[in-house]
């Protein structure tokens, strides 16, 4: 099972790196979604995969009777999912706003903050003629 998960994480990371290396900011964002899921799976696998009982303590006992699953990695992943969801939602809105304001999703053409010396500020962020 660990091997399968490790291969899955590897595939996710490979796909996300491929997406993130593209010029389109939206693709970068999708890559990031995959990457954060790969990280969550990594935590899950690193916390050991067992076929154990849920970590519940029976009434009257101070400790669980049998071997139970480790709840901590799952708590970590839940936290990470919530935080990641918030950040990605924010970033998605930001990318949309940037598209409206700058007229492009091509990161090569986003030169407002760092204009090239030979860029003409008037023509810099005109919307692209044809969406590619």
């Amino acid at each position: 099972m660990e091997t399968a998960l490790a291969i899955l994480v590897g595939l996710l990371v490979a796909a996300s790196v491929y997406l993130m290396l593209g010029r389109n900011v939206l693709r970068f964002l999708f890559g990031l979604v995959l990457l954060s899921n790969a990280a969550n799976l990594t935590i899950f696998a690193a916390g050991r995969l067992t076929r154990a009982a849920p970590p519940l303590i029976p009434e009257g006992l101070a400790a669980p009777a049998d071997l139970v699953a480790n709840a901590l990695p799952q708590a970590l992943i839940l936290t990470a999912i919530v935080i990641g969801f918030g950040l990605l939602a924010f970033t998605l809105v930001l990318v949309y706003r940037a598209y409206l304001a700058l007229g492009t999703l091509n990161s090569d053409r986003m030169r407002y903050a760092e204009p090239h010396l030979d860029d003409d500020p008037k023509t810099m962020s005109q919307p692209e003629q044809q969406a590619s």
Binding site: M20, T42, I43, A98, A113
Partner: protein, 500 residues
């Protein structure tokens, strides 16, 4: 529970809530922000005094015993970082009175600002590596908001680059935590200090260490990973730039120092040698990048990168004196760098631009501002009676002591190039006459604005001079802080009790 540890986090969070409850755009919000920052400073001073007197102090949240619950812990480095955060936080909150426009205030500037301070303080005070991740996120989301608040085109453009790379760093940090937990079964940093030594596959520990190095390296803006910084730091309002420049990358440096002195010391020959190479390259590329820039804030942004190199150098050499230098440099740099950004904002208000080619004549028409620029600028370059000289002196001495001549030479040459850069800014913005022939005069600002803008600058400049003229108490403080870093037994015992 120790209030000394919780107050620096609770005060800014409470202030943020109070500010958010105000009618949007009401003047009460900005004064609440100043008041909250003032209280934070008081709490931070109390914390430093407490740690100085009683050593490392610890609070277990919810009374869950140490390796299982979340621990807040302050050694001298943490306390000093909280104090410097409070100082810069107050200075920038006052500056923001005159710098942040009504539109940004109505959009929630002050709330985000206080949340940012809470996140930074939380990151300095936590003793749990996953909790550190959470505070990083609090800080990040607030900084994302501040970075793009207002929605100027340049802000959105810079913001995307800033956010994209910081999110990658976050994911790497998270993966590192997961793997480290898999190896050791604990998340408490003091417990990790012990547990990492018991891991048999030391190679794996080093791999995880590199995960953390890259993640914090992106946050700290070190050599191959710094490109988000000069792409974004010159785009938001000056108050935002200043707090970012002062604090955010330094949280990354703090995290590097903490992790590579407390947890990953099992293979210093590899990790710290790597850090040393990175430090040298960071210094050089930062200062060369600055030399090529022609915007006031762009020059300063590249200098942040260059200066980060010095702090990493102190960590990488990992001798007592080098760590003293790193701690001293950290504190000195935060004050000086935030102050330079604040000065750049006033220069922009008086002359109408950040582009060095389009401004000038400030020396003649605003001599006070010129002096207030010279103090942090010369300090940054390391001119003798100022704080930067002692910081550089300690680091160069430390490297010469152990025969690291290459890095010592690099540090000295980069210092020289910093002088060149600061001279360029001085000549362009202050000495040269204004290209449009107009004399930029202070009277452009009304009395209230002048006070709000110049008071924090003057206070921070005075602090720089004070550290420069009376360095002994600060060096003594840094020595004790470095001692705690090099020998973390006191830290570990304070957190875990005498269990082991």
């Amino acid at each position: 529970m120790s209030w000394y540890l919780t107050l620096p986090i609770v005060i800014p969070l409470a202030t943020a809530i109070l500010v958010a409850l105000q009618r949007s755009g009401a003047a009460a919000g900005r004064w609440l922000s100043v008041g909250g920052s003032f209280l934070l400073l008081a709490a931070a001073v109390a914390l430093v005094a407490q740690v100085w007197r009683h050593g490392v102090i610890v609070a277990q949240m919810g009374s869950w015993a140490a390796p299982f619950g979340i621990t807040l812990v302050a050694d001298l480095l943490s306390a000093a970082m909280v104090a410097i955060t409070a100082i810069i936080g107050l200075a920038v909150a006052i500056y923001a009175l005159a710098d942040i426009d009504a539109r940004r205030e109505a959009l929630g500037y002050h709330t985000l600002y206080q949340v940012l301070l809470a996140g930074v303080c939380g990151a300095f005070l936590t003793g749990d590596i996953f909790n550190l991740y959470v505070w990083f996120e609090v800080m990040l989301i607030a900084s994302f908001g501040l970075m793009v608040l207002g929605g100027d085109k340049a802000q959105l453009d810079g913001g995307i680059k800033y956010i994209a790379l910081n999110l990658v760093s976050t994911v790497l940090f998270l993966s590192g935590i997961g793997l480290l937990y898999g190896l050791t079964g604990t998340l408490n940093m003091a417990d990790l200090h012990l547990a990492v030594r018991e891991v048999e596959q030391t190679g794996l520990v080093t791999v995880v260490a590199v995960f953390f190095m890259v993640a914090f390296g992106i946050k700290a803006a070190v050599f191959p990973l710094f490109f988000w910084l000069p792409a974004s730091y010159h785009t938001p309002p000056v108050a935002v730039s200043a707090i970012f420049a002062g604090l955010l990358t330094k949280v990354g440096v703090y995290a590097l120092i903490r992790v590579f002195s407390l947890i990953f010391t099992q293979d210093i020959g590899y990790t710290h040698a790597l850090l040393l190479a990175v430090a040298g390259l960071t210094m050089v590329t930062g200062v060369l990048g600055a030399a090529a820039q022609d915007g006031f804030r762009k020059v300063l942004s590249f200098h942040i990168v260059s200066q980060i190199g010095y702090m990493i150098m102190g960590l990488a050499l990992f001798t007592p004196l080098a760590l003293v230098g790193a701690v001293f440099y950290l504190v000195h740099h935060i004050i000086v760098k935030a102050n330079l950004f604040l000065v750049s904002g006033v220069a922009n208000r008086l002359t109408g631009s950040f582009e060095l080619a389009r401004i000038g004549g400030l020396y003649k028409s605003a001599p006070l501002l010129a002096v207030l620029f010279l103090v942090p600028a010369l300090s940054l370059a390391g001119i003798p009676p100022l704080s930067g000289f002692w910081a550089k002196f300690l680091l160069v001495k430390a490297s010469l002591d152990i025969g690291a001549y290459m890095i010592a030479a690099t540090a000295l040459v980069v210092g020289l190039l910093t002088v060149y850069s600061m001279t360029k800014v001085w000549a362009e913005a202050f000495w040269k006459p204004h290209p449009a022939g107009t004399a930029p005069v202070m009277v452009l600002l009304d009395q209230r604005e002048r006070l709000a803008l110049l008071l924090p600058i003057a206070a921070l400049a005075a602090l720089t001079v004070a550290i420069g003229l009376f360095p002994e108490p600060f060096v003594a403080f840094a020595e004790r802080a470095a001692g705690q870093l090099l020998d973390p037994t006191a830290y570990v015992r304070a957190v875990l009790g005498d269990v082991r």
